[in-house]
Amino acid sequence: MNTPIFRSNGRIDRRTLLALTGAAAMAGGEAMAQGTPKRGGTLRLSAQSNPSSLNPQTGNSGSDHVILYPLYDTLVEWDYTTLQSKPGLAEKWVYPDPTTLVLTIRDGVMFHDGTKCDGEAVRYNLLRAKNDERSNIKSDLATVQDITASGQTVTLKLKAPDSALPLILSDRAGMISSPRAMEEHGRDYDRRPVGTGAMKFVSWADNERVVMTKNESYWKKDRPLQDGMVFQIIPELPTGLRSVTAGQNDFVYFLVPQQKALIDRARNISSSLGPTLWCIQMYINYGRPPLDNVKVRQALNFAIDREEFNRACFGGIGEPTSVVLPRAHWACAQEYANHFTYDPDRARRLLAEAGHPNGLDIVGIGYAEQLAVQQQEVLIEQMRRGGIRLSWQRFTGPPTPTAFLAEKKGDIFLAAWTGRPDPSLTYQLLFGVGSYFNAGRGEGAPGLTEALLATRTSDDIAVRKEAFRELEKIVTENALVMPLVFRPELNAFGPKVKGYRANLLGKPKFEDVWLEG
């Protein structure tokens, strides 16, 4: 049955609501009953982006993870629904004191090249991530002062208490490579990865495909379920979707909400939809006028009708928000999620109080792609009602964030924040003093740095939650960012694909996927 999701009144129809609810339930780890998992077959995926690197330490694109996950295990893993940490390569970890983290590495795990994954291998990886000149994740391990290893134990001495580290180790920093392979291949390791993951690397034809075969001696029981995986690089999402419809690929991910109607119309494919950390937002350069004035920033926030933006640009299936974490996240400060309700009159008043009674010109930096331009045009009209004359400078591809974040062009920047497993990293990267994603580089509001540190001082979830509430209060009241909508994870897959579960991070993992027939 073909049910369009974009109704003229912009409301979510019943089917979509059920799909979202169902997906959320699936993301909770309760995969729908789809029969008994079977082994065998090659999972063929359409990937939108060529990996920036298959070395997790040197890559620089958030979309790499989907291809990295099968190749590398992470020291820590996360729950699909809550993103709370759980054991990975590290079977346990403890903080004997606030500035010491001790990891116990699972015994008997081997790298794809036959070498052992022990404490020394983990220490080698962490030191390299922290110190190598080509490492892009130095800041992830900034609080680590010293690393020692003995047998299967790795001890991290910290400069300051840091309870975010376990989840940081579920990301790139925790993807452990074979030290021997890294030494042997040098820079070529970027293209010749050797991890401990469920899949072994076979080949990578640039902008064409990445081929993997199953790791016969994988440590996880009954995994992998597939004999191999092939990521076909298809940059155009409509083409990727067509490849699944035609049966040439089994799975396509990172689809945009506008494609939901196409998926529903196709008879031989299904979709999965789930909430994610993927926030469409406007970054603000609050380091210089006019956005160094909190009233101007608040005016911008009140000038946006997030509900209307969601309906116009996301078919109503996104989650409108005023904060940087979705409601489903354990650290979300729920009371601020709707803080900036649409109020153009208030926006005008705030502008007048800030010394702009005749309105204000704002220059935005944005992508030139069709969907981004649509969003920009909606925002132009919304902001106009609030007395803000918004214009856009558009760029294509990677030079776009560079223009705003590195070259300091424009006042605001419309883009996605793809999220991080530990929320403190999200706040640190977005608002930390000197952070690349903080275009102004300075402290956005008094007390922010202390509030950021407070989110990392305890590993008690209740304490951390309260710390995040305090932090979000500072961020929201000072309008340091303009979160708009959380984009749902939308994937499409053929009839053979079973067992897929969406996750809150929004970066698909395929460890439980099996192929029928």
């Binding site: 892009n136 130095k138 640039d206 902008n207 083409t239 490849s243 035609a246 040439q248 030079p399 560079t402």
Partner: protein, 320 residues
Amino acid sequence: MLANSPRLRLVGRRLVQIIPVIVLATFVVFGLLKLVPGDLAATLAGEYATEERVAQIRAEYGLNDPFLVQYGRWLLNAVQLDLSRSFQSNEPVLDQILHRFPTTMLLVVGALLISLTVGIPLGILAATRAGSRLDMVVTSISSFGVALPNFWLAMILVATLSLSWGWFPATGAVRFASDPQGAIWHAVLPSIALAAGGIAEVVRQLRSALIEILSSQYVRTLYAKGLSPAAILWKHGLKNVAVTLLTVIGLLISRLLGGAVVIEAVFAIPGMGSMVVRAAIVKDFPVVQGVVFTMVILVIAINMVIDLLYTVVDPRVALK
């Protein structure tokens, strides 16, 4: 003695012409890429990079050097067939081009063959029945073919022949060397989409040239001598339009190479077209320059072959 051969002189002249054309084309492209806004080093460094890392990349790739120095360095290496390495993947650009070149050429050759096998009979049919309803139909269809965007036709072909009926693959390509049959199978739809404009071009040019010849005085004389219309068409008409046809083929190949950029995107074909588009987006100068360099050489080589063929079908060309 060889030096006195008109054909060798022609080849020599063309080879000499290659030099300024390559320098001009690559210089213009290099300049345009430099005009694209954005700091390449910051882009390459990625979102997590420190200022030090950006500065390091700038030095590593020689981006601090003046524009002319950067271009001169690239050109000097290129003439030694060192097309440098991709900024993104660090792979040799020449290897990437050689890997993708056969895929693009399969499309271009396929589209050329379709253009000629469909276009030539239709052109002859229209010319020999000039002014008839059939001529009007063929002329109208060819006008439509010229105006038809090939990406639109590609989508229609995929929607019907691939997604609805499942006759052909909707996306991708197979390397000819590893599976010739599969490679041709994958190339059918993109080649048809690419050939639409080519068919129309061949029909229109052939019709117009053939009508002119068939209405000339010497053809009237041939009729007066009692030759059959078929003999006149095959022995005298087509032989005389061969030069026109060769010109059309030469132009068509260049056009098909350009059109492949769009078609490769629609069908997700890993060819040279899609490679240069992605490289341009991420400002991967060596790849863009390498592809332009290859394309310029290719087009000049094709023109040279066409010029040589002129001398075969019409020896007067060589004498001139």
